[in-house]
């Protein structure tokens, strides 16, 4: 059934699609019942032009959030947001800094020029906008026990400003594609936070992104307000970085050479950096939408999260006269699946052993902000999150014989996927292209993984029923080149929810398997996200 025509005319005869597959591990649980016409209805509403592309902070996103909450409430799911509501408000600001950054020290100080010599992004509440600290050079700022790498050693950087080099010290050590992206600025910020630093500055090197790109970090931007002590992160331009380090009597190239070795130890520099951030802030209304199916029994305080982001890119540059970036695949599809699964479970009589939390995230397109906010400060009714399944652009192309995933080898959540897929007669596929493009780290499962909560991402298979072998890959390629983050990512006549229903059934089975299992999901031994591996 094509979606556009189906939205216009839905026969009643297309009643519940009942899966006859076998539940491999828990025969007591009924087979999943995903209602295809409900998937269509959710998709049609969320991807409608009236929702104006659901941009974070926009009225379209607010309508989407209220729609999702209304569906949760209608199903009889409990609210799991702030103070008994379905909404978790994000501490989200649109901010612009006009800082002053003054270096002082034995080798005479210098004022660095905003946007010419450096750029930085404030992280804390506006009131905490004056930061002064001694400076420590911490090499590449990486702490990765699983790789036997520790740039911080036992250095005390508490309240200090750390200078780090971008990227990695040795391209043979870190797998940039599938392993945890230790070498990313995001991870370096995470490490600096853990060590109590007050500021982090990345020193631009010749192979770094160009300054014209980096300086746009100084534009007004959306960011969460953190409460962890790291006041800012940013970049220092290569020429200024060289001068800054030289003013302390050291040579940046010498330090960089030292930092390529495992034995490298942090180097305190006889420098202070005084920053006045001069932040202008505008709060941006944005909410995650959270609902819960309560668990029963001794593990009811633990929860398994099924998440999908509902935000997209809003209204933007017109393409062929269309300026609404509807995000039908990215990610009305994921929300439709989430609502479908939630309804099937809410309507059933199951009470899972662990609570099931349905989380519709905002701010994904702005940098996984909604999922990060949930991980950082979960409302109490969410319980202790012990596992997470993420749906981000799901299948609107038709039924498949396989289901795609990322992160299945990292934790026992992958085992649940294998069992659930088997019960639905689907094979599990990890697509090399997804791995090559680091797609595990580009969606809302990643903040959960960083917080050591085993997580997985569900993506599309490539083996479509009734299609030639290469058809699925061609469709994906066309999506990435023609529609991804374009106004054309919208409802079209050729779409079908048969594949989406398959994915929803798999997730429904996974949720019950994970919720009922005696042991909470666990990272596999080789995973970089095991709690021990990051400390």
């Amino acid at each position: 059934m094509s979606i556009a025509s189906a939205l216009r005319r839905l026969p009643l005869g297309a009643s519940l699609v009942v899966c006859a597959g076998l539940n491999a591990q828990r025969p007591a649980r009924p087979a999943p019942q995903i209602n295809n016409r409900a998937l269509l209805a959710h998709l049609g509403f969320l991807a409608d032009d009236a929702l104006e592309g659901r941009n974070t902070g926009s009225r379209g996103a607010a309508v989407a959030a209220h729609y999702i909450a209304a569906q949760f409430r209608r199903m009889g799911l409990e609210p799991a947001g702030d103070s008994g509501s379905y909404f978790q408000a994000l501490p989200l600001m649109s901010r612009r800094a006009e800082p002053r950054l003054q270096a002082s020290g034995e080798g005479a100080g210098a004022e660095l020029r905003w946007l010419e010599d450096y750029v930085l992004v404030p992280r804390l509440a506006d009131s905490l906008s004056t930061v002064a600290g001694d400076v420590v050079f911490v090499g590449h700022g990486i702490v990765a026990p699983s790789h036997g790498w520790d740039d911080y050693k036992d250095a005390d950087v508490h309240g200090k400003v750390v200078l780090v080099l971008p990227g990695d010290p040795d391209s043979t050590v870190f797998d940039r594609r599938m392993g945890r992206p230790w070498t990313s600025v995001r991870e370096k910020v995470e490490v600096a936070v853990r060590y109590g630093a007050a500021g982090l500055l990345v020193l631009q090197r010749p192979d770094s992104p160009g300054w014209d790109v980096l300086r746009t970090l100084g534009d007004e931007r959306l960011s969460l307000v953190y409460q962890d002590g790291l006041a800012y992160w940013g970049w220092v331009r290569d020429s200024a970085a060289t001068r800054l380090v030289a003013s302390s009597g050291r040579s940046l190239s010498d330090l960089a050479a030292e930092a390529t070795r495992r034995e490298f130890k942090p180097v305190p520099l006889p420098l202070r950096l005084d920053a006045t951030l001069g932040v202008t802030s505008r709060p941006v209304p944005a909410v995650n939408v959270l609902a819960k199916l309560a668990g029963r029994g001794p593990r009811a305080n633990e929860s398994i999260v099924f998440g999908a982001h509902y935000d997209h890119e809003g209204i933007g540059r017109p393409e062929n006269g269309d300026s609404i970036y509807n995000g039908a695949e990215d990610n009305a599809s994921g929300i439709a699946a989430m609502l479908g699964v939630a309804e099937a479970l809410a309507r059933g009589s199951v009470r899972p052993g662990r609570a099931l939390v349905f989380a519709a995230f905002v701010g994904e397109e702005k940098g996984l902000l909604g999922s990060e906010a949930l991980v950082l400060a979960p409302p109490s009714s969410v319980g202790k999150m012990v596992g997470m399944i993420n749906a981000d652009y799901l299948n609107l192309y038709g039924a498949t014989r396989d289901i795609g995933t990322l992160g299945n080898e990292l934790s026992t959540v992958g085992d649940a996927l294998a069992a659930a897929a088997r019960a639905e007669n689907l094979s599990v596929r990890v697509d090399p292209d997804d791995v090559a493009r680091s797609r595990f780290f580009r969606s809302d499962n990643y903040p959960f993984a960083r917080a050591a909560i085993p997580s997985i991402r569900i993506v599309n298979g490539v083996d479509y029923v009734g299609r030639p072998a290469e058809w699925g890959r061609e469709q994906r390629e066309r999506y990435w080149t023609e529609r991804y983050h374009q106004p054309d990512d919208q409802i079209a006549d050729w779409m079908s929810v048969d594949g989406l229903a398959q994915q929803a059934r798999v997730v429904e089975r996974m949720l019950l398997l994970l919720a009922d299992a005696p042991r909470a999901p666990a990272w596999s031994a080789k995973s970089d996200f095991r709690p021990g591996s990051a400390r």
């Binding site: 509403f45 009236a50 209304a70 409430r73 209608r74």
Partner: protein, 560 residues
């Protein structure tokens, strides 16, 4: 006992058994549907529809569009069949906004717009009429009262003057139990149009119009929202009001006595008369199209009667964003009528969840553009998804009192047709007593003419028997006797059509469950019973009902 008698006895016993079984089945089905009405479903729809993000669901505004799309998405989710235009859920309401620049001159002397008269164009952008005016008394043609103000008159191409109100205003022995709309401007202008007049002015009279002239006239200045009705006959192009003192001057310039003329109009046998004075009327109109829709979904019936239907409706529109009151510019319409719309969706969900497949189809309708003048229901009746003869009944919610549990429940219109019996049985099944006609809220409803002020009215005028759930019960458990009336008065005075009609009223969805169960049972009963409901003998809508069943509904009744 003879063979035939035995056979008859067996057959009788069998048919009794079958009837009993089918009754038992019906009652089981009704209980299933009733039980499937759930508070959290009602709460969910209400919370969304009344939220500020829906921006008051204004007609032609973004919030109204989103509300319509929400209804369609819910119909789609439930698997209702699209029953709007072109196999969609949307039925376009041909709504237009018209701004008129009128002029009216008596023997060459221009009258003052707004203080002397107001006028609007009908169906065209520029219209003019010129004639000696014909005074047609009250401008009523009512065979049931043996009354015809147009008898013997030729008004083709002429300007008509008609008094506001009905002859009963002067002589209370006349027009007993008359259709209420005989007194209305719309009726009088339409009647003039049917007789071929080129322009019709209704003469304002304080005793017949509940608002002062200044207020009435002001309401006609600026954009008028209306249905874009194509003219079916006649040449009438201008309608309007004329101030009584102005009319009097005009009559006197025609050398006629105003008092004599107006009192003659209230006497049986009145004959229209031409006033010998030159009158010129002209209107230039600017028109824009206002996007508005009804949202229509059909739960198909089963068997022979599936071609007939029961309409279950609620208007989803409200006033949108408007002038701020106490810093709030969003007219949420939580009670009016997010509550009813949510109730309609909740009943639709209950029918689907319970797997109900009654004999007649049930057509669920979210009406648009109610607040500007019942335009959604007018448009529905004018272009129904199936012939009106096959629409057995209409059930409407406009305001669901979510303020307490009551001992009683009432529906307006129940005394007009056999629907009353079905409603009373359904209410009894949920433990309700009938609300006495003399209850304070019922008297208020009558005085304020609730029945003619919501979407059931166009259906009634087209001959479709309706029920309108009384927006507030009388006897709330744990409340003093007059509490209900106080609540109603308080709402009308402080919140009606104000931004404060919002979720802060503290509406509690749990209190909607039983009333909605009654409506679900009622709709199911109407959809199940073999024959269509009938108007009572005394009902003023009975004639319209007969026209409807004879397939004559449409042109005449729809234009009122």
């Amino acid at each position: 006992m003879r063979n035939g008698a035995v056979r008859r006895a067996v057959l009788t016993a069998l048919s009794l058994l079958v009837a009993e079984r089918s009754q038992a089945q019906q009652s089981a089905a009704a209980s299933r549907v009733a039980r499937a009405v759930e508070a959290h479903v009602l709460a969910a729809h209400l919370a969304l529809l009344a939220d500020d993000v829906l921006e008051g669901r204004g007609t032609g505004q973004r919030g109204g569009e989103i509300a319509a799309k929400y209804l369609a998405s819910q119909f789609a989710r439930l698997g209702l069949e699209p029953a709007g235009d072109d196999s969609t859920y949307y039925q376009r309401i041909p709504l237009i906004g018209r701004t008129a620049i009128p002029s009216l001159a008596v023997a060459g002397d221009s009258l003052e717009p707004e203080s002397d008269f107001v006028a609007y164009g009908v169906g065209r952008d520029s219209a003019a009429a010129q004639s000696e005016p014909v005074f047609v008394g009250y401008g009523i043609v009512a065979p049931e009262h043996e009354w015809d103000d147009y008898a013997g008159a030729d008004v083709k191409g002429k300007i008509v003057l008609a008094l506001a109100g009905i002859p009963a205003d002067q002589d209370s022995s006349l027009f007993k139990g008359a259709r209420p709309d005989y007194g209305f401007r719309q009726y009088k202008v339409d009647e003039a149009m049917r007789h071929g007049a080129a322009a019709a002015f209704v003469v304002y009279r304080a005793e017949a119009v509940p608002v002062p002239w200044a207020q009435l006239a002001r309401s006609w200045v600026g954009e008028q929202v209306q249905l874009d009705r194509t003219l079916k006959s006649g040449a009438l192009a201008i309608g309007g009001w004329i101030n009584d003192s102005t009319a009097r001057r005009l009559v006197e310039r025609g050398k006629r006595d105003w008092k004599a003329l107006t009192s003659a109009a209230a006497r049986p046998g009145f004959r229209a008369t031409t006033l010998p004075v030159a009158l010129q009327a002209a209107v230039v109109t600017r028109t824009r199209v206002i996007p508005a829709v009804n949202v229509v979904g059909r739960l198909p019936g089963s068997g022979r009667l599936a071609q007939e239907a029961v309409v279950f409706g609620a208007h989803y529109d409200h006033l949108g964003i408007g002038p701020a009151v106490a810093g709030d510019s969003i007219y949420n319409g939580a009670f009016d009528n997010a509550s009813g719309t949510a109730g309609m969706l909740t009943v639709a969900e209950a029918f689907v969840r319970a797997g109900a497949r009654p004999a007649r189809s049930v057509i669920f309708v979210g009406f648009g553009a109610e607040e500007q003048g019942l335009f959604g229901s007018e448009a529905f009746v004018a272009g129904p998804p199936l012939p009106l003869a096959r629409i057995a009944a209409m059930v409407n919610i406009d305001g669901l009192a979510l303020i307490g549990e009551s001992r009683d429940l009432a529906a307006l219109g129940a005394d007009q047709s056999s629907l009353g019996e079905l409603f009373r049985a359904a209410a009894a099944a949920e433990g309700y007593r009938p609300t006495p006609d003399t209850a304070p809220v019922m008297l208020e409803a009558e005085q304020q003419d609730f029945f003619n002020r919501s979407d059931q009215a166009p259906f009634a005028r087209a001959g479709v028997p309706p029920l309108f759930l009384m927006p507030v019960q009388n006897d709330f458990i744990g409340r003093p006797a007059l509490w209900s009336k106080e609540q109603l008065d308080d709402f009308v005075q402080r919140h009606y059509h104000q931004p404060s009609d919002d979720l802060r009223l503290g509406l509690d969805a749990r209190f909607g469950v039983r009333p909605l169960r009654v409506l679900a049972r009622t709709v199911l009963a109407i959809a199940t019973q073999p024959a269509q409901p009938t108007w009572t003998k005394a009902s003023p809508f009975r004639a319209a009902g007969e026209r409807r069943l004879n397939g004559q509904a449409g042109a005449v009744s729809n234009e009122r």
